[in-house]
Amino acid sequence: MRFALLLALLAALVMALFTVSLLVGPAGLTPARALAALIRGEGLAETLVMREIRLPRALLAVMIGASLGLAGAAMQGYLRNPLAEPGLIGVSGSAALGAVLALHTGLAASFALGLPLAALGGAAVAVGLILLMAGSGGSSITLILAGIAVSAMAGALTSLVLNLSPNPFAASEIVFWMMGSLADRSMLHVWLALPLMALGWVLLASLGRGLDALTLGEDAAATMGISLRRLRLVLVAGVACVVGAGTAVAGAIGFVGLVVPHILRPVVGAQPSRLLAASALGGAAMVLAADIAVRLILPERDLKLGVLTAIVGAPLFLHLIYRTRKEGL
């Protein structure tokens, strides 16, 4: 009952932020005009602004936020480690590397899903590597160190590809791929990301029962008929789908998968299956709020989303490391 109320509150928050996101922008439309243009198509310029610029931006914020929240909660449930987050352990960075390779080798131009699939490939390699290195029940320090190595490698290779590109704008986009932004994205990007993301959501949502069982330990979970190998495979595929598709269109946005599950975990009673649903909604709310803030703080400057999420997330990350150390894990 309390859980249903929490989900309803989070959904209402997402709806409210989604509406605000649609109403913020340099065109200076009044809310009434903006909604009339969005819903009824009144005014050619207003309709273009609302339907082609603001709507895809708000939709992508919801989709990417939900994906990052979900991926964070799922990885933390599997690794039983609150520090596992796609951005921090290099999954987003590797997805960005895949995306950049696709864009600058011509793969993205040659077929429609080339870009998100390449990003998915990058993400899958990183999740696989991390699970191999840190495994279920591995120590926090191994996880973080493996993550640092994967992040550094992915970041360096992304910079290398962009510096080698003959395109004069490529090198300045290093910051976009590392920090993420939703500025001037279009419905094309929504359609590009949605199929893989939806697949990833289904895969990750199916993990709930297995993750709940895993809280009792691996042996107990096995006796309950949970196949750890299958669980791990679905987790890798799901995280790669959602993080790959999101990063391909918006760059790597860090810390969302860390902050959101951390805040919601005590509220849902530390039950992984419940945390998955709550974190999806919470992640959507966080990215929407960050994307509204970048437009209010520095309109017209394209402040990167990752800047805000890191300002919120990094201190929390330090706090979590400190607490983990105190607990002697």
């Binding site: 340099p26 310029a45 273009l48 602004v49 082609e52 600058h104 395109n167 004069p168």
Partner: protein, 288 residues
């Protein structure tokens, strides 16, 4: 220096006349070096092109690698005949130039370092108006000691511009839309090219004087009649994604007219005449 040499000479006893003569000969040699530069290196796209137009045979020894890029340079073919440089101080210094041509946006560190190494560096100002172009040509002619050729080129440019009589009966509103939503305001050469061909520049309505960004939402609200897009480069970047954004495509579909800015727009050289000619044709097609 010469006056000081004279003073030294008069102070010297007669016996040392021979030495003094040698000193003055060396000084004279230094003065003679200030004649036409013999080893000129250009490290800026715009000076590259003007120097290639105005240099005497063998005088220009290297141009920047950008001059050989057909997407940015109207003289890519000619540039292939020169040694290409990447504008690095060490590389340029090793060519032992007696004159380096740079632009005002050339890295300050490169220019400063070259000057400290004793290389003469001259910076060609950016032509912000069509009327600056003959002066820019004349200045380059002066630097390369080829004033006659510069005079001819400047006269040809003036005549060519006069022949492209502007048509101001109708002024369709146009927007220059480059990567990253960058545009050119009223104090730019691109604005002058646009207005000379008979268009009104929408960036002026938005209050932009130099170059700057015009958020896409604002651009759409201004509803330009014609979209003149920036050039695309190989590889896909987010910066250039905005050029093909569905909202911009929708603007283009309203009117048949659309054009692309290219190498001809970049520098204040006689090549802008063909940019104006193409735009004038677009303007006349819009009017009919």
């Amino acid at each position: 220096m010469a006056r000081r040499a004279g003073r030294i000479m008069s102070a010297l006893p007669r016996a040392s006349r021979a030495l003094a003569l040698a000193v003055s000969l060396i000084l004279e040699g230094a003065v003679a070096q200030a004649g036409p530069p013999e080893r000129v290196v250009s490290i800026n796209l715009c000076t590259d092109q003007l120097a290639m137009m105005l240099a005497m045979p063998g005088q220009l020894i290297s141009v920047s690698h950008i001059a050989a890029d057909p997407l940015a340079s109207v003289m890519a073919h000619e540039a292939a005949r020169y040694r290409l440089n990447y504008g690095q101080a060490e590389e340029v210094h090793a060519m032992a130039p007696d004159l380096v041509l740079a632009g005002p946006y050339t890295s300050r560190y490169t220019v400063g370092l070259l000057r400290r190494l004793g290389v003469e560096v001259r910076e060609l100002p950016v032509a912000e108006r069509l009327s600056d172009i003959p002066q820019t040509i004349a200045l380059m002619g002066e630097w390369l000691a080829n004033g006659a050729r510069a005079e001819t080129l400047a006269a040809e440019f003036r005549a060519g511009l006069a022949a492209l009589a502007p048509n101001n009966d109708e002024r369709p509103r146009a927007v220059l839309h480059y990567a990253n939503n960058y545009t050119s305001g009223s104090q730019t050469l691109a604005h002058q090219i646009l207005t000379f061909a008979g268009f009104a520049n929408i960036a002026e309505e938005a209050g932009l004087s130099g170059g700057g960004t015009l958020p896409m939402e604002q651009l759409i609200m201004l509803m330009p009649d014609v979209v003149i897009s920036g050039q695309r480069y190989p590889g896909l970047t987010r910066a250039e994604d905005v050029i093909d954004h569905p909202a911009m495509e929708a603007l283009r579909e309203r009117h048949a007219g659309a054009a692309v800015t290219d190498a001809e727009w970049v520098c204040g050289t006689p090549a802008v005449l063909s940019a104006i000619a193409r735009l004038t044709a677009l303007h006349d097609a819009e009017g009919s």
